[in-house]
Symmetry: C2
Subunit: 394 residues, 2 copies
Amino acid sequence: MNRRTFLAAAGACSLADVDRLLARGDLKGKLSRADLPTPALLLDLDAFEANVAKMTRFARERNRALRPHGKTHKCPEVAKRLIRAGAVGCCAAKLSEAEAFAKEGVTGLLVTTEVVGRHKIERAVRLASRHKDTIFCVDNAQNARDLNEAAGAGRVKLNVAVDLHLGRTGVMPGEPALELARQIVSLPNLKLAGIQAYAGSASHTTGFEQRTRASREAMGKAVETRRLFEAKGIACPLLTGASTGTYNIDSEIDGVTELQPGSFIFMDVDYNKIGGAAGPVYNDFDNALTVLTTVVSKPSSRFAIVDGGFKAFATDRTFGPAPKNIEGISYRWAGDEHGRVDLASPSAPVEVGARIEFIVPHCDPTVNLYDRIYCLRGDAVEAIWPISARGMSQ
Amino acid sequence: MNRRTFLAAAGACSLADVDRLLARGDLKGKLSRADLPTPALLLDLDAFEANVAKMTRFARERNRALRPHGKTHKCPEVAKRLIRAGAVGCCAAKLSEAEAFAKEGVTGLLVTTEVVGRHKIERAVRLASRHKDTIFCVDNAQNARDLNEAAGAGRVKLNVAVDLHLGRTGVMPGEPALELARQIVSLPNLKLAGIQAYAGSASHTTGFEQRTRASREAMGKAVETRRLFEAKGIACPLLTGASTGTYNIDSEIDGVTELQPGSFIFMDVDYNKIGGAAGPVYNDFDNALTVLTTVVSKPSSRFAIVDGGFKAFATDRTFGPAPKNIEGISYRWAGDEHGRVDLASPSAPVEVGARIEFIVPHCDPTVNLYDRIYCLRGDAVEAIWPISARGMSQ
């Protein structure tokens, strides 16, 4: 099928049919950026591959395990590429996200939110029985007992990490964590893998020096707690933490064994703004992720309306999308399905049908709005990857 | 299968398997609110049915057609229930949303965003050839010619409405709109259905009097444009507009023939805040939509962490979710997957495993995060409806 007959076929179908057609075959030469139905989530493969290579090399050189966070991409194909590049596995924010990764053959799963409630605990045991290297996080004595009981009934041994409170979930560092670790060690169906320590607010602290101070203070508590475990004879081989904002800070802290950054593969306006070690813009990694929109209306010469709004971009930041392929314009929200583009001095014509591509404000919750990511090599669509764990927040 | 064996079966499956099991059979007595995997989107059926009955009666009594906006629910079952209650059809924000509704048998579709680009126009023609009553919006002369040409090639006649600019998409009211209407009438494969006029900013104006002024000013331009069309001999049977915020304002304006409110079926914190005709809280319709969360961590006696964050609630408003089943607590965002609940003086115990239900900040983009809506009669799950058009923003 050549490009023309392919597109004729695509034109004859619903969007779902088009995607099925596309996902089936070799797309090279058949579909280009200009053909995609908008709003569309795009991945620049050259930038993505460079980001993956840079982070895996970084971790290897510093002798840290790398288990990138799958909450960013929710895409088994991305997880598998990271593992092929050297990652030890994939973090999942929730049990259902981990189930979606496991179903597609992703190994080395670490579920970073506590699994609570009888039904979910039973599912966790099922997951562990098929994927024995899965690690679950625990921060509560009763929850540890519940996990132990269900694991016994399911005849599996659950790997668990003590989740330390550094701002969100977790047991308090020091003695409370030690008490929980002792309990875990005493329970026959649980195996203590180590400590999970995610310092969310440090990750997004603006300014490299300020961020370094914030992360060292937070992770210092985790390292001390690990030492406390070991001093009391409790083996603690794992201390996992860090983020895209702190990968090069936490990797310098003795005792941190594993890094779990997520956003570096895609990047976003949010991380660009926090500042890097070398200057005011954080650009250790390239912006690989964009949303492509189409101008659907131009009511006046001063502004146009694109087909991407609250349902096309995450809105949890104070700023909006940043135009990538054109200068002299600015985006503002115009509702659920639309954005208004103000045309101060556009560097290219902005008429109905024009396509405007945006770097997303915040990558994780933006990706969670889409079912597929179009992977581009230049302007050619090389692959379409399903975002299989989209919506899996349970 | 009784409740116990049913749940045992469910516990043995992945989340997707559970949903397939549940969607298949008669759920009565088998599944209750307490069993649901969280975060879960819930619909209180008694409140929903009361909202549907109230709005359909209102429109009937005022002799206005009602075509509720499907962008709110993206759920064919909801659209069909509204039609059975008296609605003439269902609005869709985008073509792919309309395709998803059409596939499930929803009739009387009005696509409220312009369809731009060759591939999408071909798909629109396909849709119209199977669903002849579909109406598309146009605001641009070239786009009208493109639609006409594709309709000719597809041997269909496309129903189109002139989309008037009252703040977002659309051609300017008055002469520019008249010129476009004349062009449409001259094109052999287009049929002018009338005018679409959505005044988005009026819908959310706080205070009933201020909102009445804003909507009358905006819709006044639409009514005048309709009169202009008719004075020039151009039949304009349809003038569709209005929202949940203005249904009882625009229905009093002579010349508005059809109301297209969306949010009234579910309601949200946003609409509660804009004030009603009778007082400072807008409560013409009941809060039928909630998100159920679980406390997954309690690091301190002062706060707890629930399992719903940016991926469980829309974040486009300045305020967050409002607790429904408990008082004396407040929610704040704690990242993509978590919320922090501050425990000032909780009216019920908030321990790990407790379930907290929230009215959502903004219903439309919240619904767009979920694949299914659990429909409750009291505490029993009576049905699970697929949100088939979720993510269909193209």
